[in-house]
Structures are given as C-alpha cells and as structure tokens.
C-alpha cells in the first residue's frame, strides 16, 4: 500500500510541476515582448503598404495629367483638384462654401444615423428576445433590405415631398437594416450562463436587458453602426438628388451637369475623407468601449 501512495504523490508532484511550467511559459515577459514586436512590425508594414498604394495611385494620376494622355475635362490633374478645393473652400460653389456643403451632408447622415440607432437597437433587441416579434419584423427587414435606395426614392418623394424629411428618411432606411440585423445577432450571441447567473442574482427581465443583454451585444451593435454609416454615406448622393440646394452630393451633381470635373473629383475625395474619419472614430470608440472584445 505504501508503495502505491508514494507512486501517487509522485504523479501528483509531476502534474504540479508541469502545471507551473506551463504557467511560466505563457506569462514569460520575453514571450510577450516577442508578440508585441511581431504586432508592431506587422502594423508598421501594413501601414507602409497602404501608403505605397496611395502614393502609386497619385503617381499614375499625375503621370497621366503631365503626359496629357487624357483631356483635362475627363481627368483633371491632382494639382487643379487641389486648387479647386482651396477655391471652393474659400469662394464656394453653387451658392455655398465647401464647409457649408459638407456640414449639411454630415448633418443629414448624422440625424438619420441617430434615428436609426434609437429605433433599430430596441427593435433588434425585441426580435432577438421574442419569437413573435421576430416572426413579424424579420421578413420585413429581409424584404426591403436588398432593394437599392434609388429604386424606392421616387415613392418616398411622392409620399413625403421634396423637403429635408425625404432625404433623411432615405438615408435612415438604408442605415436601419444593418444596425437592426447586427443587434439581433448580438442579442442571440449572449452567453447563456451569463443570463442564468444574472437571473440567479435576482435580475428582473428589464434589468437583464439593461445590464446584461445590451452591454453584451454592444460590440455587435457598434459593428452594425459602422456598416450602417458606410451605407449611409453611399445613399447620401441619392438623397441629395431630391431638390437639394446644399450638400456634397448636390455639389457633385451640379458640377457634373456643367462638366466641372475637378469639383466632381474633389467632392468624391472629400466624401471619402469624411467617411474615413467617421469610420476611424467609431473604431476608436469600439476599442475604448469594448476592450474585452477581441474582434
């Protein structure tokens, strides 16, 4: 018997030993440093490659302009686009400065986004939690989501006129679906034992939604907002087809009608930059709000 006992404690000792070893291995500072280094080097090279792509694009563009391969009317040179940017910012184009156009567009997208978030999140939560709500609302979203906004634009004009409301409704409709779908997914993904634990701690249904489900779904909701914002910007130009007097989309269309190509190119770049800044801001917000989420 005593031999058996010593044998047992030996295996136990061995187990303990390997356990400690694995701990030291994973938490070793050298290992962490290596990972950080890899992280940094990969980040650096990624950035470098992105910059190279843009530089190359600009170079080809400049080359085409300098060699006059394409008439200025079809492709203005980078320099004339830059000059246009300064002059439109200063003197304006079609009765408004660049800042006024941009501010109007940003305001439209933001108002639509805020309305979309405040409706899509509660609706998404109820679809995620209640199968009747799901059966009623899910098909509606699936039905209208694939329709291009330009297709239902005329109907919205007939119903809501040519005022500001129609423009915001159009953007809202495009932004709503991705946020609602992301919210539903986030709610469905909430860890079952997290919900059960909270119920055992005495959570009411409302407390469960407020303190457990909503924060658990937050990473998915934020991803939905990011996707929605992208869709919102692409719908903007369509929205500003409707009797607008201001806005980046309106500015581009007016310029296109008079064949002022440098304003068209400049407008496209300005929209791209604004959309990029928003996307970047949301990513930072996501990192700050949900640091535990690895995605």
């Amino acid at each position: 018997m005593s031999k058996q006992i010593t044998e047992l404690s030996m295996t136990e000792l061995l187990n303990t030993h390997t356990a400690t070893e694995s701990i030291t291995q994973t938490s070793a500072p050298a290992h962490n440093q290596l990972r950080r280094l890899q992280h940094w080097s990969s980040l650096l090279s990624d950035r470098v490659y992105s910059v190279i792509t843009f530089a190359l694009l600009l170079l080809i563009w400049s080359g085409i302009s300098v060699l006059k391969l394409v008439p200025e009317l079809f492709l203005p040179s980078p320099l004339s686009v830059l000059r246009k940017l300064i002059s439109v910012a200063d003197e304006g184009f079609v009765d408004a400065t660049l800042l006024a156009h941009a501010a109007t567009s940003v305001a439209r997208v933001l108002v639509a986004l805020i309305i979309a978030i405040s409706t899509a999140v509660p609706i998404g939560i109820s679809i995620g939690l209640n199968r009747y709500a799901r059966a009623m609302i899910d098909p509606l979203i699936d039905f209208y989501r694939p329709i291009p906004p330009l297709a239902y634009l005329p109907l919205i004009v007939i119903w809501f006129g040519i005022g500001e409301a129609s423009k915001i409704i159009l953007i809202f409709l495009a932004v709503f679906a991705p946020i609602a779908i992301a919210t539903v997914q986030g709610v469905r993904r909430v860890d079952q034992s997290r919900i059960r634990a909270s119920l055992s701690l005495g959570a009411s249904r409302w407390q469960l939604i407020r303190y457990v489900i909503l924060p658990s779904a937050a990473p998915d909701i934020l991803t939905g907002v990011r996707i929605g914002l992208g869709v919102g910007w692409s719908t903007l130009v369509a929205a500003e087809l409707i009797a607008a007097t201001r806005g980046l989309g309106f500015m581009i269309q007016s310029a296109a009608q008079f064949l002022v190509t440098d304003v068209v190119v400049m407008g496209i770049i300005v929209i791209a930059v604004i959309a990029f800044v928003f996307e970047w801001g949301l990513r930072q917000l996501q990192k700050k709000l949900v640091p535990w989420d690895e995605t």
Binding site: L8, S193, S198, S200
Partner: protein, 259 residues
Amino acid sequence: MIRLESVGIRFPAKNQDIEVLSGISLDLKDASFTVVIGESGCGKTTLLNLIAGFEKPTSGRLTIDGKPILGPGVDRGVVFQDDALLPWQTVKENVAFGLQLAGKNNAERDVIATQYLKLTGLEAHADYPIWKISGGMRQRVGLARALAVDPRFLLLDEPLGALDALTRARMQEHLLNVWQLSGKGMLMITHSVEEALFLATDLVLLRARPGRIESIRQLEFGRRFTDGESPRSIKSSREFVELREQILQELLTQEVELV
C-alpha cells in the same frame, strides 16, 4: 433545506423522449457540502439546473424550506464552469452586481462587496477589469458574486474544471474555508473523484441512462481539513486512497457495462 422528491425530467427528441433523470430523491441539508459525481451524460448538470430553477422537472417535486422551486432565485447562488462574469465591469463591480440589482446604494454595495473580496482573497484586485485576471481568480470572483447576495445555498457547476492542477488544489482548500466561514449549504458537480472525496460531506454517485442515484455516502475528509489537518496527509491517508479506488472501480464498471 432543499428537498427533491422522486424528481424526473425528460427532454423531447425526434423519435422518443429522452429520460435524463428519473426518481431522484435527495435532501440538501443546511451547512452540508453535497458533491455529485458520475460518468458524463448521467445528468449531473441537469440536476443542478433543476435545483437552480433553470429547468422544470417533468415529474416529482423540488422545494426549498418547504416552498416549491419555480425558477431561479436569490436564495440559490450559482457558480458556473465558465465564469459567466460581466467583462465590462471591474472585479468589485461584478461582486456587487447582485446588490446593484437589489437596488442597494453605492455605499452599501461597497461595504458588502469589500467584505466578500476579502473572504475570497481578491481585495488587492478589486479595481482590475475582469479580462485581465487569471482563470482561478475569475472563479473566485464568481464565488464572491454568488455569496454577496447572501443565498441560502450555493450551487457549483464544475467550477474548477477549467483550472490547472495546482490552482485547482488551492481552490479546493479555498472552497472548504469559504464553506466553513459562510456556513452555506453547498452543492457541487465534479468529474474528479479525488476532489469529490476531499470536499463532500454527502457524496452522491449518479448512474446514467436514465440518470439515477446509485449511492449517497457520508464523508468526513472536508471536516478534517477545516479542523486543521493538511490536505496532503488527508489525500494520502489509507481511508481516502481506498475509497477513491473503490469509487473509481464503481465508475469504471459502469462504463464497461455500457460497452
């Protein structure tokens, strides 16, 4: 006391309902440490879910202090295998979560949470975010969170299953200390025979298909630890080793019978 009277549960399946548990009669006495052990698929976790109120029995009766168990409640705290903590809260906020739900104000929460952080040895990490602490610490946060609302019973669903051997041994001792200090009735599910023997005052052995109680043993090893004997000396004592071999033998014959 929690009392189960010929409790059974069936889950609907394609062709025929599956009888997961059948005729379970069991008393969980106050201040006892009941450990349930059995092969996988014997319905251990379902048994805990029934007592916690996450599932409803298809036959039989479950009561706590004579009142029927109808759903989850603050009188039965649960600690899960995966910690089930809220990652957006700090260690202390997690421990205080049940108190927050009960509508206690900040000052009250702080006092009680600090008390349970001390009990579980976490006071130095009170303000750490959950995702920055180790697995063993997370399980202690789960334990402190369940204890903080002062439940009558504590239900532990394989709480040490995901831990490495060293942390696991420490947590077993820790559980016994918490059990003795808090005086709660405990119910724990485990796969480890050694763990079950070391902790249990009442050791329940389940058999599978359908899940039913094979035997209930009264044990003293946990008490010997709280009375001051070292875990090594308990775990290497003749009675402990013999009983461990006996139970392993019983579990193994069950598996063989199935094959």
